[in-house]
Point group: C2
Chain length 324, copies 2
């Protein structure tokens, strides 16, 4: 029942001009006489003409579309990134295609290959692909990485080094002498990065650090992590991210451990929920909307650098003085 959509040719005929002129009137208005243009626009409006984005992209090669790939759309961590990217893309007249790779490197690689010609570029957030695959993708398309660095590929990451130092000093100032890191996905660049930063900062302050895991970076993963942490003797745990940290909070409560009097808990990211869980979570907050915005910006400007965005510690109720 759907009627055929009018094309530039319909508009051209009706307006008494050539199709190419109609084309110009929309894609390059300044190369058309003001009056002709107004006339064309009026006719187009009357006919209900809408440019076909696909037909427009085919000869020009410009799709005005950007692909944003991430490992898990339901992870609150990515909300800010999505929103920042969305806003920046829209502001520049681009459409954002969002794709959930469900933590699978294969799915990610496959989609990057499949969509390569359908987008002007990709933003890969927390990419699970190998460096080789990322380089290959960057050879075919414009690519910007978020929270991962690969030599030669532009990226924007959230600072872990300095932020983690703040975390460790905060714990030290509360009297903690040892801490346990609850690690996240092995393929995660942030996970490796945070652990390295933790070792270094703790080492410098003479604190003992151990690592357990990996755990699924989810609330339910936190239960396993808490169980594993109990009996490790540490007075503080630093979780790979807030999801994991919130999960440990619940499990500690279930098992009768008091946070922070029995054990302190720190997370990363300051996601939705970190401020209203019980107790509210001490965490390293990251400027995620900025992150998404900057990535799109870099992509559209053809930037080449490695941007590092600062994070900052938010102290809430889950950390406290060592007692006993």
């Amino acid at each position: 029942m759907r009627q055929r959509m009018p094309t530039i040719h319909d508009v051209a005929r009706e307006a008494g001009v050539a199709a190419s002129t109609v084309s110009r009137a929309f894609s390059n208005p300044r190369r058309v006489n003001v009056h002709t243009r107004q006339h064309i626009v009026a006719v187009a409006e009357r006919l209900g003409y809408r440019p076909n984005p696909l037909a427009r992209a085919l000869p020009s090669g410009r799709t005005t579309t950007i692909g944003l790939l991430l490992p898990d759309v339901t992870n609150p961590f990515f909300f800010g990134i999505i929103r920042g990217a969305e806003r920046q893309a829209n502001a520049a007249g681009y459409t954002l295609i969002l794709m959930d790779t469900e933590e699978s490197p294969e799915v990610e690689t496959h989609n990057v290959e499949r969509l390569g010609r359908a987008v002007d570029g990709f933003v890969l957030a927390s990419s699970r692909q190998s460096e080789a695959d990322i380089r290959a993708a960057a050879g075919r398309n414009a690519v910007v990485l978020i929270n991962k660095q690969v030599a030669g590929v532009p990226s924007v990451v959230i600072d872990n080094t300095e932020g983690t130092r703040q975390v460790v000093e905060h714990l030290a100032s509360l009297g903690h002498r040892s801490l346990t890191y609850l690690s996240g996905p092995p393929a995660s660049w942030s996970n490796a990065n945070r652990w390295a930063a933790l070792r270094e900062s703790a080492g410098r302050l003479g604190m003992r650090v151990t690592r357990i895991g990996p755990f699924s970076p989810t609330v339910s993963g936190g239960a396993a992590a808490a169980d594993a942490a109990i009996g490790r003797g540490a007075t503080a745990v630093v979780a790979f991210n807030d999801m994991l940290a919130i999960g440990t909070l619940r499990r500690f409560a279930e098992r009768g451990w008091r946070v922070p009097s029995d054990i302190s808990v720190v997370g990363y990211d300051d996601i939705f929920g970190a401020d209203f869980c019980s107790p509210p979570l001490t965490t390293l907050a990251s400027p995620r909307e900025d992150c998404g915005r900057t990535a799109i910006d870099l992509l559209l400007r053809g930037g080449r650098g490695e941007v590092v965005l600062p994070s900052h510690l938010v102290v809430r109720g889950s950390t406290g003085f060592v007692t006993g």
Copy 2:
């Protein structure tokens, strides 16, 4: 520096066949001799050929792409819907374009018009458009609505009527005789629907109901709602959604009101966080992943009905007996 991508013509020449045969080998493999096909595929592989989705869509009119529009990507309510839609779309070989309309009817209408030819159909979740605009969109594209009903347009909604009855009966069984509804966005179909269901159920049980608001359906909106609710005399509040409910929880605590002994709080949706806020929230849980899945399914099958998905009450710590 980016090299020209090989096309079917390159593959055809290299394989010694016609371009149309290469085309068939990929889009309609069974209409090509097995050996020719294998040969073509091998050559294509060697050349690194990838079909161009745009070029493919132009003559056929099929884009294998679906647009999912929603008012706020950062609202946890939509996570499940996104994931369900994503999965179902991918399973059917479709790409999902996700678009955040930021609560603006204009942005929504504009994007529907702009992307009309670039997708095979739209899923409009919690659409903020007028019925007229939705009908217009449905005249041009395949459209499925989520959480909104418009005569003649297929939709999938989450049941409020029966679910709300459960909420009211739960409160009644705890001794509550009056409740206050904290309303959400005026343009929201669910908001109207929930309020209507609440009045009816409460009326039947002889409970007093009042409505205040509208409030922004966010955690910060909950603070305003809590302040407004205090002094209303109701022993229970039912919030438009969990975000709002969680916000009231915090505000009540700040003002020294105990939940549930001073006041009971109920939300809608059972979003991420509803189980670990303090106290954990009693809420009407909705099958959101199902919802997203069903909507895509309906769209792809060209279904015409109005699907209603059941919700169910989850009782947690935020509701209790009336005291005093």
